[in-house]
């Protein structure tokens, strides 16, 4: 499968994303933010970093980069898109995902491993995560507090759009386990169509045991499986 990893000025997790995909046996290439086309792409990763210095608001400027038009079209045509950290911020600013990410409630930048509970395995991003498995994945962000108004939150719940929530080692959604104050401990969500997802934690930094956890692989493996299913469905 071919993964396109976007690069905005000051994206800095693009190389880790490319490395993770390649180490898991698939192709990945960089797409500079000024490109108008994604080329032959099966899935897009919007990587982490501080695009445009987080100026004005995180992701507020990157969302207007030329490549985002192509990403929007790709998403409108059912393409799979996953935004990681700053990528999640870019996708919410672009309106491809609901809600917004604001300053962590304690005003601290949190760089630590956290635990994630997978709220649903019914998505191309979670289908290979064993039921009940708690994922241990690192976060590194100062503005990762997920916010959405009551109506949007209700809709996310009804539509099963919450994919991952911060939890403790035993899977409990406690306040202490919430590193940034996100409403309902939301760490990651998908859109209504379930082809675009965003999460603040970094699965690309947890795809090899040597990094302390390989739980992030399960998210990428879910995407690989979903893409394989798509291909098989097309061939049929």
């Amino acid at each position: 499968m071919n993964f396109a990893v976007l690069q905005f000025p000051a994206s800095n997790c693009d190389q880790d994303a490319v490395h993770a995909i390649r180490s898991l046996g698939h192709s990945a290439r960089y797409i500079w933010h000024k490109e108008n086309s994604l080329g032959d792409t099966d899935a897009v990763i919007v990587p982490g970093g501080f695009s445009y210095g987080d100026y004005l608001r995180c992701g507020a400027i990157a969302r207007f980069s030329p490549v985002m038009q192509a990403v929007k079209q790709f998403a409108d045509n059912d393409g799979l898109v996953i935004g990681i950290c700053n990528g999640f911020q870019v996708l919410t600013e672009a309106g491809l995902l609901p809600g917004a990410l604001v300053l962590n409630r304690d005003l601290q930048f949190h760089c630590e491993h956290i635990y994630l509970k997978t709220a649903t395995t019914e998505s191309p991003f979670t289908n290979k995560i064993p039921a009940g498995k708690i994922l241990r994945i690192p976060i590194a962000h100062g503005e990762g507090c997920y916010f959405a108004d009551e109506e949007t939150l209700a809709r996310l719940k009804v539509n099963n759009q919450i994919l991952w929530q911060y939890c403790d080692a035993n899977g409990n959604l406690t306040d202490t386990a919430n590193p940034n104050g996100s409403l309902q401990n939301i760490a990651g969500i998908c859109n209504e169509h379930r082809n675009v997802a965003g999460l603040m934690p970094h699965p690309e930094r947890a795809s090899e045991e040597i990094l302390g956890s390989a739980d992030g692989r399960l998210i990428f493996e879910s995407i690989f499986a979903a893409l394989a299913d798509k291909l098989a469905a097309k061939a049929a």
Binding site: A60, A100, L103, N104, C145, F147, G181
Partner: protein
């Protein structure tokens, strides 16, 4: 001609900066502070002779689409 845009966090959004500044003011001894909200101030210089009404329309559009995020922020625009 100058456009002045003040962007503030919506009341529904937790404003830890505001709260922190409020605590600091209290610790410093300033009495009677019942709330603090920290936002952004943006100044845009416009070419002389710009039509003010047109500028207001365009800048409201820019403020709504880009300079502020309507999900979490409110804005006020003034042109002088």
């Amino acid at each position: 001609m100058k456009a002045k845009i003040i962007v503030t966090p919506k009341k529904a959004v937790v404003d830890p900066q505001g709260k922190t500044v409020q605590n600091a003011l209290e610790h410093m001894g300033y009495q009677g502070v019942t709330g603090v909200h920290v936002g952004k101030y943006i100044e845009i210089d416009l070419a002389p002779g710009t039509d003010q009404a047109a500028a207001e329309r365009v800048l409201n559009d820019a403020a709504h689409k880009f300079l502020s995020n309507p999900i979490i922020e409110d804005y006020r625009l003034e042109i002088e």
